[in-house]
Amino acid sequence: MNATPTTARPLWLAAGVAFVIGAASLALLVGPTSIPVGGTLLETLDRLTPFTIDSGLSETQQAIVWNLRLPRVVLGLLVGASLATAGGTYQGVFRNPLADPYLLGIAAGGGLGATLAFVNDFGDGNGAFDGVQIAAFIGALSAVALTWLVGVAGDRTHGTTTLILTGVAVASFFTALQTYLQQRNTENIREIYTWLLGGLTTSGWSEVMQLLPVAVVLLAVLAMSGRTLDIMAVGDEEAKLLGLAVPQVRVGLLVAASLLTAAAVAVSGLIAFVGLIVPHAVRLMFGASFRVIVPLSIFAGAGFLVLCDLAARTILSPAEIPIGVVTAFFGAPFFVFILRSVGSR
């Protein structure tokens, strides 16, 4: 007997890293200003490694690479990894293939928070700890907390169905408030709408530095929890009888995934579809164990979102397409392709 348990094999992880580097390099090289390929890569290495390398770029070109393109690419990597990993975690915790990171109301809460900030002129969504970002973060977490309080308190069985349905109710309620506010403040409608469709606009490195610590810590935690999600896959009762502290583990994983999602939403708005399809694509290609799905979703989500952002800013250049439109437009056919070619495993 030579079978070994499913794990994220080194080769797969290497492929993941290669995908991320490839996507990031491509995104770094393409933009409205033409900058030499070699110089761009050398400039990046000069900045990111301890070595001093002369890239031969002019100061303007250096500024474009370092202050415009690279932060945007890195932000895309972080947001994509966060949404995909949080989505995979949600799907595991709820044992529901339709789960995504917005299941418990994060999107609606974030949208309401951002809208409140826009209409009250708390900020414009850019920079570090901007008013819109903070309001979106608080709104997102408030929605999850409300869903949890109402959903768990109202359900003696502590099952997940009530929680999911409560999430639907809370999301509808928050969306109603958000839509009302939006319609009452038509002067802000454009910026609100742009925020809702998601985007990776950056002002230097401030958004990246804000998300980076949260994302690194929580991605590391979730990457280690694949085994636990595998145990939860046999259902609450059996998982308990296998010795797993199911309620505590569920709360812990949901808190981690929700914080990660809220932090990503705060800097990038509502980017749809990534959290739903990336973990599924990984599952279909590499296997059904969460020990594979969670770690590989980090790389797949990161690379996928950076490529989508590249499309979003080049297709109608100099105009930008909202990234949420791109993720769905390219993601949906790609997902159907995988579904058809691998078969529903």
């Binding site: 007997m1 079978a3 348990p5 046999v234 010795g243």
Partner: protein, 265 residues
């Protein structure tokens, strides 16, 4: 001798309906107890209360230790549970599924150790599942799948194995296969508690039968003591013939003789 598992005044009430009246029960280590009874008698409820899956009153002690005082992982190292209809996650391979049985032996965030894999390998080979380790559980036949589920429970290395209707979904050959497997485990010192529908098979394999009716133990003893025509009539409302042959008790429905066909001509 300390009982492997002892229940005292164990009772289950859900929404004012009493599913199990206060019951005392004690099972010797290395023996096989089969719980029988008509539909709705409380067989599964008793089993689930013993393993801690159903909220119950009363006490359950395992090897002399009160279960309520045991940690969750300690319980799972002592009692292994084979549900009637387990949830098999989509796409799971046999080896990954059986490895879940090692959960109580390691930290949930830690990787499995070589000894965990060794236990899984041993169990798979012992249950003749070595060639299936790479297969998806969902792709196996009913009998093979049942062996895989039992393999997961055996990977827990718990001295007491509780099985809810382990043979109900299987054809005759696969029923025999699973029961012979349990018989072999019992001979290696495993304590087995199962619920069973087939009375003759239950009587043949178990050391002791407990007959439940309406949430109470109404008969307890050897197959010959419990499987009587009177008990079957009273608690199953069944008209049966019980035959004894070399210590084997066979329960057969008594069927009215067929009316001979009249010659059409």
């Amino acid at each position: 001798m300390t009982a492997a598992i002892r229940a005292e005044q164990l009772a289950v009430t859900i929404d004012k309906a009493t599913l199990l009246h206060p019951t005392d029960l004690s099972v010797e280590p290395g023996s096989w107890l089969s719980i029988i009874g008509p539909n709705g008698a409380g067989k599964s409820t008793l089993l689930r209360a013993l393993v801690g899956a159903a909220r119950s009153k009363g006490t359950v002690t395992v090897n002399g230790v009160d279960m309520a005082s045991m940690k969750r992982t300690e319980r799972a190292r002592t009692l292994a549970w084979v549900p009637q209809v387990p949830i098999i996650p989509t796409g799971f391979r046999v080896i990954d599924y059986v490895l879940l049985g090692r959960t109580p032996h390691r930290h949930p965030l830690a990787a499995e150790r070589p000894e965990d894999l060794a236990v899984v390998q041993d169990v798979l080979i012992d249950l003749d599942l070595g060639d299936f380790a790479d297969r998806e559980v969902a792709s196996l036949s009913g009998g093979e799948r049942q062996r895989v589920i039992i393999a997961r429970a055996l990977a827990q290395q718990a001295p007491i194995l509780l099985l809810d209707e382990p043979t109900t979904a299987l054809d005759l050959g696969h029923q025999q296969e699973v029961l012979l497997l349990l018989d072999r485990l019992r001979n290696h010192g495993q304590t087995i508690i199962s619920t069973m529908h087939d009375l003759s098979l239950a009587g043949h394999f178990a050391d002791r039968l407990v007959l439940l009716a309406a949430g109470r133990v109404v008969a307890d003893g050897s197959a010959a003591d419990v499987l009587t025509e009177q008990n079957m009539a009273e608690y199953y409302n069944a008209d049966v013939t019980v035959t004894h042959n070399n210590g084997t008790v066979t329960v057969m429905p008594r069927i009215a003789p067929r009316i001979p066909r009249t010659n059409p001509s």
